[in-house]
Structure formats: structure tokens, C-alpha cells
Symmetry: C2
Subunit: 424 residues, 2 copies
């Protein structure tokens, strides 16, 4: 069977028992066999619920799903921190196994940042540093949801989160979303019928429609969560980006009962590739999520976490957010102006109060057709399929990410969109 031990090893208690090996040259080995194409054992096949195929097409002009402009990423600040590690006398202490819960410095700074910016009242013990909000949602749902348990999500909603919940074994329940956010009356009806374990909500700017959960519904949701004792996973991925006078404080800031788990990240603050996120929760949940985190990947990137702690401490993050908010605010306004001008009476939208994208509908014109046409003209955009779990009740709308397009690109993109709409 050609055991490939080319040279008998001079180990202490093994060598004597080793059969004489037949040396094989690398060339001979290469022709002898190739790596197996398939496993010998069965592997269950699962499907992506959705995949942003157009993300990869970076060269073309794209109305993306709502990403920050990586050209504005303060990568220089990050590199400055990394250079410091090169000279750091104590860098060695960040190079070994470290705290599973994440850098103590970062958790301290983050507690301060969250309490200051969002009205939270948490301590570093309430924070688990994760790889993006994605991992925070993964860990929370794996800890909370057992097979067959009921989870409520918005329809339309963020299918990336739904896939995480489904992988945890959740039975998904779809809650209609209107201009005031999730329909909490529908949640109440659900609670009367089933034992709800978890509800996923993006109150600040709902994905995909960017609507904000109204104050009345927020109260209603917290009361329901208290009454029926379910967990609310509050995804606040774009809290730091708001163009109206004041952001709305998250649900977690007024949760006195321990119903709300808070998820966020810096992936939109620095760049999507800088994977620092966080899970905020009462300590008993943080402990369990930390247990699982240890199994998943042991710990985060300590150098990155220390760098981020410094950037928060120095006020670099605050300064960058101020600068970025100004630019994205201008880009949002530019897109709205251009859509009103170029697609008057065709494109309908409400001005998003924050975030990176705008929810548009085009009357009777099919978004799929528009997207296909745009694609041919060199403009990438979603085709409206990625926001819906179910067929019935679909609205013919699409997210137009404005944050990654500068003035010249935005003008060009809206011009191409106009052509595509006219051809649809």
C-alpha cells in the first residue's frame, strides 16, 4: 500500500519497530496518486440560504448591500498601532494564549464607549469580544436555541442571521415589518400560540427596509419579552452612523429585566475585514458564550484587539466616526437628490435616517429585470431576492448602498440605473 515514510526515523522507541521503508522520490509520488476528490465517508450537504455573489465583482460599479467605503478606512491608524507593537517591550505578553473573553483593555474601553454613546450601563464583564457581529449572533443562538425551538425574525429581514438561527436548530417564525418596524402585535399573537425562545430585531435601521422600530413598539416588545420570558437579540450594527439629529438609544439601554442581548461591531467603523464585534449580555450568558467561543477558535486576534483598544482610548474612533458620518450623510443626500431628479415618479423611497443604504421600489417594474439590465450596463445591484424568507407577500424592492460611491461614481451609477429602469 506504499506507506510513504521515506526515511526511517531515529526516534527512541519507534525506530526499532519500523518496517524498512521504501523510499519514494517526490516525482514518483506525484504520479503514483492524486489527492482524493471526495471523502470516503458521507458528508451531509447543506445550502447557503443566500449569497451576495455580486460582492466579488469589485471592479464594476456596484450599489452594494450597504457597506462602508474601504477607501475611507482609517487603515493608517491601524498600521500605526501595529508599528507600535514592533517596538513594544511588552508585545510578547499579547502573543501567547490570552483571555477567551477578549482583551481586557478593549473590554474596558468598549464598556466606556457603549455606555457613553448608547446609554448602556454595562461593565467589561458583560462584554464578549467576537469576530464581527456575525460570531456574536452565532454564539448567542448556539447557546440559547435548541432544536425545534421557536425564533421570530422580521419579514423581510436579514437572511444572514436567519441562516445562523436555522443552523442552531431554530424553527423560524416570520413577523411582518412595516414602516414602524416589526409588527409587535403579531409577536404577541405568536407568543399566545407558541413558546417563543428568541426574537431577532434590528430596531435602529431594519435590514433591508431601513425603518426604525417606533417608541410604542419598543415598549410593547420589552413588555412582551418580560411577560413571555423570551430573549431579544438586538442587532445594532450601524448605530454609529446616523444623519438625523440624534440616534435612538437601543432597547438594551432600558432593559432592566435581562431580556435583551446586544450585538454590534466595528466592521462598519473601520472596514468589513477588520473583524472586531461584541456581544453584550448579563454575565450568566456571557459565561456560556465564552465557553463556546473557546471551542470555536480559542480567542480573538489579541494584537488587533489591543490596537482597537488604543484607537478607542485615543479618541481616534470618535474622530473617524465624525468624519465618516459627514461623508456618508452627503452621499445619502446625493443619492436621494439624484433619484428624485433622474427617476422621478418611478423610484419610491423614504430617506434613511442613517446607515449605508436606501430602500427603493420601482412601481410595477420588476427589480429582477432592472438588476439584470443594470448588470449588462456594468452596474452591480441586488435583485431583490435576498431579503425574503417566503414567496408570499414579497415587495418588489431593493437596497441601494450609497456609502461606497463617491460623487462621480454615484452620478454614473444612478445614470446606469435610470437606463436599466427604462429598459425594464
Amino acid at each position: 500500500m506504499g506507506w510513504a515514510e521515506a526515511f526511517p526515523r531515529k526516534g527512541l522507541f519507534v525506530a526499532t519497530k519500523l518496517p524498512v521503508a521504501r523510499p519514494r522520490s517526490v516525482a514518483a509520488t506525484k504520479t503514483a496518486f492524486t489527492y482524493p476528490a471526495e471523502t470516503a465517508f458521507a458528508v451531509d450537504k447543506r445550502q447557503y440560504l443566500f449569497d451576495h455573489a455580486y460582492i466579488a465583482r469589485r471592479e464594476t460599479l456596484v450599489f452594494n448591500d450597504g457597506f462602508p467605503d474601504t477607501r475611507l478606512a482609517p487603515i493608517d491608524l491601524l498600521i500605526r498601532e501595529y508599528r507600535r507593537f514592533g517596538n513594544y517591550r511588552f508585545t510578547a505578553k499579547f502573543l501567547s494564549y490570552g483571555p477567551v473573553q477578549g482583551s481586557e483593555n478593549l473590554r474596558n474601553e468598549l464598556a466606556r464607549f457603549l455606555n457613553h454613546s448608547r446609554g448602556l450601563q454595562v461593565s467589561p464583564a458583560n462584554i464578549l469580544i467576537t469576530k464581527g457581529a456575525q460570531m456574536a449572533m452565532y454564539l448567542a443562538s448556539q447557546i440559547l436555541v435548541r432544536k425545534g425551538e421557536e425564533v421570530a425574525v422580521g419579514e423581510p429581514g436579514y437572511l444572514g442571521a436567519s441562516e445562523v438561527f436555522r443552523a442552531a436548530g431554530a424553527n423560524l417564525n416570520f413577523i411582518p415589518v412595516d414602516k414602524d418596524g416589526m409588527d409587535i402585535d403579531a409577536v404577541e399573537q405568536l407568543c399566545k400560540k407558541k413558546k417563543l425562545r428568541m426574537l431577532y430585531v434590528i430596531p435602529h435601521h431594519h435590514m433591508p427596509t431601513t425603518v426604525t422600530l417606533s417608541a410604542a413598539r419598543r415598549q410593547q416588545l420589552l413588555e412582551l419579552a418580560k411577560k413571555y420570558q423570551f430573549a431579544v437579540v438586538e442587532d445594532d450594527y450601524d448605530f454609529d452612523f446616523h444623519y438625523a439629529s440624534s440616534p435612538i438609544m437601543p432597547l438594551v439601554s432600558v432593559d432592566t429585566c435581562g431580556n435583551v442581548i446586544y450585538v454590534g461591531s466595528f466592521c462598519k467603523t473601520i472596514a468589513p475585514a477588520i473583524r472586531i464585534g461584541f456581544l453584550v449580555a448579563p454575565v450568566n450568558l456571557i459565561e456560556q458564550a465564552t465557553w463556546l467561543r473557546k471551542l470555536v477558535d480559542r480567542q480573538g486576534e489579541q494584537l488587533m484587539e489591543e490596537a482597537m483598544a488604543n484607537l478607542l482610548r485615543n479618541g481616534d474612533i470618535d474622530r473617524h466616526l465624525k468624519k465618516a458620518n459627514k461623508i456618508y450623510h452627503e452621499r445619502r443626500d446625493l443619492l436621494c437628490t439624484l433619484l428624485r431628479k433622474e427617476l422621478k415618479g418611478v423610484a419610491e423611497f423614504d430617506i434613511p435616517a442613517g446607515g449605508f443604504s436606501l430602500w427603493a421600489t420601482f412601481g410595477d417594474r420588476n427589480v429582477k429585470t432592472i438588476a439584470a439590465g443594470a448588470q449588462k450596463l456594468g452596474l452591480g445591484m441586488a435583485d431583490g431576492d435576498d431579503y425574503w424568507h417566503q414567496k408570499p407577500g414579497r415587495v418588489n424592492g431593493v437596497r441601494l448602498g450609497f456609502a461606497s460611491l463617491n460623487e462621480k461614481e454615484m452620478v454614473e451609477a444612478v445614470g446606469l440605473l435610470k437606463k436599466a429602469v427604462e429598459g425594464a
Copy 2:
């Protein structure tokens, strides 16, 4: 109930419906309530199987579990790469969402590196870049193991892996390990009784005893895996560190059937905190592991992956490994010499052919007592508990990590160990 929306928001369709908010000052909020101590909903409590509490005590002298010396970490090389990103014209392309499977550059370089150093014949499509070997094991076992399926692990063994398998729902079966590695006859007996889904093995230097799986048993294991169609997870975490003339090629290098999954990392090459690991497998398994990876944390650190690709391409990793092997070889020899001299007739051990630690027993003397005594003298060491899943059959042994101790520290550590042994 004090909804904390201090300022009504000027959103388009929300503001009009917002109830008049009662402004609260930050100070008032702070005294109004504190963050909940516990969740309102139930959270199942799980326990760590084991925890290296002594890792945290870095200031004291420690015989650790077998970690590289972070003082020798080529952090300058890594920082050099990061500085390059600061000037890079194309850094922006690594700052957005990227390939879930990992950097294409790194997968190319890694395929070359693995094929060259380990006799593998894999393509980049066979590689998933992970956060350390830990994540590779997590993903593989989550994909492969369903609740109640049978998994075989060595006894003694690496409990960190066992915990991952247990979390996937595995029913663990303990296979005795002797001087030739895992007892494959025992595996065969197991296969006759139960449907084995997966076997975890560290053939190069078994954890904890550092023994090497003999050639005969390797053949036997591959034949069994083929016959009974189970997956072999080969953990080769310290392949790159061997002090005998030649390393033994991994099982995966001669697997023509697709039974072996190969797991490794650079966490021992650069530093434990630099979390670049990999899973090598046939494409059908890589696809499924990539699906799960997307749910867990979307993607790895692209900048780190690009940096590592450059270090591999430049030959920096090869040069560092050569240098580090020389130093750790000397440290291994020094520890053996000192133990022979200072603990003659008391400490028994075989010279480890590679890796970062030595497996020692102390006759009738209890390792727990020795470790407690050492602790009092200022020497950290394991107490022998972390290697066994079960009570019966335990051997009174301990791993003494030599790689992180320089000559002065090693002399001091063995001196303290001697005192502790004499006092036991």
C-alpha cells in the same frame, strides 16, 4: 417604564408617531437602574472539561503545556508586512468582505508549503484557512458528527479536542495509547461493535505523551478507516518542530481513499496569538466546512492572511523554522541532561523526537503533590489531571514544556522541580 429616548428623532415616518419622550440626564439614568445581573430567560450551564489555569501566571517560572517561546516570535516580520499594507496601493481590496475559505494567496502558498514539507498533494481548493487548528477541529466535527454518533479519541489524550467533539454531540470512545501510539487493535474491536463515525489522532507526537504512531499501526489505521468508512481527523499541530533527522510524513500524505482530514496551524510557528490554522480535506468536505465558517464568523483576518502568504512566499517562515528548531532542540537536550543529572533515578522519560514538551513520570511520587510543592516554590506546572478523560488507568505523569525556557530559566526550573520532588 421610562423609555430612554432622550430626544425625539427627526426621521421621516417615525417622528410623527413618537410619543413625547421624557428626557433623562445621564446622571439620572445611572442611578435609575443598573444592568441586569442575570438573564430573564433560562440559560443552560455547561462546564469546561478542563482549563489551563496556570497559563495566566506568566510572571512566574512555568513548565507550560508545550508552547513556543513568544520572545522568539518573529513579530518583526509580521509588523514588516503590516507596514507594507499602510503604503499598499491595493490594501483596500483586502478590507472588504472576502473569500470565506480564506485568502487565495495564502491557500496557494500553503498548498505549496504542505506539499513540499509533508508530501501532500493538495490544491488550494482542498484548504480552508481557519483561526488556529482549534477552529478547524470545531468546523470538521460540527459538520461530521451528529448527536450520539461514535467518536474515538486516545486515552490519555487532548481533552481540548474531546470537548469540541462532545459539543458536537459525540459519544466518546477512549482508545488506549502506548509507546507506539493509539492501540489500533482496540479501534478495530470498537468498529466491530459500533458504527464509528470519526477518530481523532495526533500521530506525529501524541498529546500528552509525545509518542509517535508506528508505521505498522498507521497502515492498520488507514485500512480500518477504509473498511469501516470512518473519518480520521489527523492533528499535526507540531509537524514543523522535529529534532530527529527526518519527520514522519502525515497519514494524509498516503490517503488515497479520502478518509483523512488534516488539521494544523501556524500558532506554534509564529506565536499562539497569531491564529492562522488550516483544514485540509477533499473538496466536498471543504465546501461544507466553508458553509459553516460563514455562519460562525464570515471570514478570517484578511490582512493577517495576506501577511502570512507573503512570509511563506519569501521563505521567511522556512528560515524562522530552521532557527527555532535549533533553539528548541538545544532546550530539549538541556532539559533531558538536567533531569538526568538532578533527578537521576526519579524522573523517567523518553526523549521526545520533536515538539515542545517532554512526558515525565516520577515513580511512586504523586504528580499532584509535586505540582503543589512546585507552585509554592514559584514554579508553575500541570498537576497531571488534564490528560485523562476517565479515572481508571491513569498514569502518574506530566508534560514538561521546555520550549519557552531559556538556559538560565531551565536550570532554575529543574532546580525547583527537584526540591518539589524531594518534598513530595
